[in-house]
């Protein structure tokens, strides 16, 4: 196996507030391999966005990266000077955000903003930059790119703005593209197109993608490996097929069962996760998920579990794990409400 292109070890990012210290990211470690598409999935407060921002040292005040090791190829991003990390941003590692409206400058023409991405890194002359911008807009499937470069962001639709953001991100041929909820604010048809675009770019250009989202469907379509985060920690990690078919952490399992499926054959009551999101100021003792966990045992209240291998290439931080819960407590498995994999009815198709 090739060596990882990005290596995060024991990352801790905290926010100092009047009420105390918020441990937004609490000892997170993972690797990203070249050309891979990794999904980081979690709900609000899970720490997924802050993790991404920490990689590029873009954490907003009053947040601070307290400890951790982040290596891109062989360089330690944490030890770099401000100038050096600015060089990495937008060139080796690019990031696109949820709301293209606020990421794009409304008073500067779109084409120029993409040119800027290259000019700022002294990667091209102005005419070379403009040529490449048009080429990039073509690549992200914006029609009539020669005209679009002269448009201001508000003249583009939401979907096109996001494509322009992607073009900007790809301008300097980065090895890694971090996408933080890039489709959450978009209509579902536009979302599907953007995701397809990202998948094609991933295959064509070999750019590794870190996809941050709360939508399990998005992860299922785009990613090869998945990290599940809860309350600032990684609770499960593994290849996407395995995580979806045999989730070992009760949170992952519960999350999958609480999502309504558009291809469901009959109406099944959703299995909701009881309780509310954890308080990051005073997180629960022991396992942070234990107050909401249907399978907890005594140990879960007191001892914090660590990530351990539960299946080949799959790790989870749980004292019980779903396999054991099923065996010992008789938890019923995913009742088959969907057609058999690989066959049957897809939404929108007649049987």
């Amino acid at each position: 196996m090739a060596s990882p292109i990005l290596s995060v070890r024991n990352l801790r990012t905290q926010f100092k507030t009047d009420a105390g210290i918020v441990r937004a990211v609490d000892d997170v470690s993972f690797d990203l391999f070249p050309g891979e598409s990794l999904g980081i999935v979690g709900e609000s407060g899970s720490g997924k966005s802050i993790t991404a921002l920490s990689i590029l040292r873009l954490v907003p005040e009053p947040g601070k990266i307290v400890s951790g090791d982040i290596r891109f190829r062989n360089d330690d991003l944490m030890k770099m000077s401000d100038e050096e990390i600015r060089d990495v941003r937008g060139k080796d590692i690019a990031m696109i955000f949820q709301d293209p409206q606020s990421s794009l400058n409304p008073v500067i023409k779109t084409g120029y903003q993409i040119d800027e991405a290259m000019l700022a890194h002294k990667n091209a002359t102005p005419s070379q930059a403009r040529a490449r911008t048009i080429e990039l807009l073509k690549k992200v499937r914006i029609p009539a790119p020669e005209r679009r470069v002269k448009d201001f962001p508000h003249q583009l639709s939401g979907g096109m703005r996001q494509r322009a953001m992607i073009a900007m991100g790809l301008a300097n041929s980065p090895s890694i593209l971090i996408a933080d909820e890039p489709t959450t604010a978009l209509d579902v048809t536009v979302q599907a197109q953007i995701l397809e675009l990202l998948a094609d770019l991933n295959h064509e250009l070999g750019t590794a993608i870190i996809m941050i989202t709360h939508n399990m469907g998005v992860v299922a379509g785009l990613c090869t490996r998945v990290i599940v985060m809860y309350a600032g920690q990684i609770v499960e990690q593994g290849p996407v097929d395995q995580i979806f078919e045999q989730p070992q952490h009760p949170y992952t399992w519960s999350l999958l069962r609480s999502i309504p499926r558009v291809d469901a054959l009959r109406h099944e009551r959703l299995r909701s996760i009881e309780g509310i999101a954890p308080d990051l100021l005073r997180p629960p003792s022991g396992c942070r998920f234990h107050p909401r966990c249907p399978f907890r045992i005594e140990k879960c209240f007191t001892d914090e579990p660590h990530l351990e291998e539960v299946k080949p290439d799959q790790v989870a931080a749980c004292w019980v794990t779903m396999d054991r819960a099923r065996a010992e407590m008789g938890a019923d498995d995913l009742v088959d409400i969907r057609p058999g994999a690989g066959s049957g009815v897809h939404p929108g198709e007649m049987r």
Binding site: T17, D18, A19, S272, E274, G275, I276, D279
Partner: protein
């Protein structure tokens, strides 16, 4: 009963915390505001005391002490008629406070309802009110005040009315702006969906949420009113002798500044410190009540 599996809610903070008690806590932490409040409380005490006792009667003339500086008998000296400055300062405090607070209470009573109604209903009502406001803004305030005092006669009440006539528009405009913003908020729509009548909408939903900036504006309006009154008295159209106002005392003091500077210094310092105190308090209130600066 088919309820959701009981999710007994745990509110995020353990104690009951209304937005007002929250603001109070933050205000207490502002040292300047705190000191100002203490001073103002002291001032109110002095003013109340002056109702029943002052070292000398404020109009007591003493020809032997005219223009005398601070001494054991007269802690702050005497003025051109030998009257004790300290006593007159104490009575002057009454005038300042009554004018300051009185004008703002009237401004609230007039400006807030008008502004809220105009902002909530918009349309004709708003156009008319805006027109009236702009007319009032067009008249120079000193001129308006002087004309009103001239017509109504120079009593404390009339001075208050005159000052209110020049200041109510600020409050009306503020209230209108608040109503315009708040009427678009979803909880206002929710109130309508819940069957609230228009009166309830205005005074049950919009007013409580607009109170923050309104209170701040009223507090900061107090020193402005006091200063205005002092200015009017300085010009000679304020309170009439022998009632002392800090402004008229300063006026008399300026005329004797060469040989009796204590006459102008005392009321000027009193005025300045009081104005500062109200401003610090107003600023402190603004910070404490601003929901955006939470944490």
């Amino acid at each position: 009963m088919a309820t959701a599996a009981a999710v007994l809610a745990q509110p995020i903070e353990p104690e009951q915390a209304s937005l007002w008690s929250d603001a109070w806590r933050r205000l207490r932490r502002n040292r300047f505001a705190l000191i100002s409040s203490v001073y103002l409380a002291f001032l109110v005490g002095v003013a109340l005391l002056a109702l029943v006792w002052t070292p000398y009667r404020m109009s007591a003339i003493g020809l032997a002490q005219i223009y005398s500086g601070p001494s054991a008998a007269h802690l702050l000296g005497a003025d051109e008629l030998g009257r004790d400055i300290l006593s007159r300062l104490m009575v002057g405090a009454q005038v300042s406070l009554v004018v300051g607070v009185g004008t703002q209470l009237l401004v609230l009573a007039v400006g807030v309802p008008l502004g809220l109604i105009a902002g909530y209903y918009k349309g004709v009502v708003d156009t008319v009110l805006t027109f009236i406001i702009n007319v009032f803004y067009g008249i120079p305030d000193v001129l308006l005040a002087m004309i009103l005092v001239f017509i109504l006669g120079p009593s404390l009440t009339n001075i208050i009315i005159a000052i209110v006539a020049t200041r109510w528009m600020d409050m009306a405009r503020l209230a209108r702006g608040q109503a315009l913003t708040l009427r678009e908020r979803e909880f206002v729509e929710a109130g309508r969906a819940a069957g609230a009548r228009p009166g309830k909408m205005l005074f049950g939903h919009i007013l409580p949420n607009a109170l923050g900036p309104i209170i701040v504006q009223a507090t900061l309006g107090i020193p402005a009113a006091i200063l205005f009154e002092a200015f009017l008295s300085f010009l000679g159209v304020g309170v009439q002798p022998p009632t002392p106002s800090w402004g008229s005392m300063a006026n008399e003091g300026v005329q004797a500044i060469q040989y009796a500077p204590h006459m102008v210094i005392a009321p000027s310092i009193a005025l300045s410190v009081t104005l500062m105190a109200f401003n610090f308090l107003g600023d402190g209130l603004r910070d404490a009540l601003d929901p955006r600066s939470r944490r």
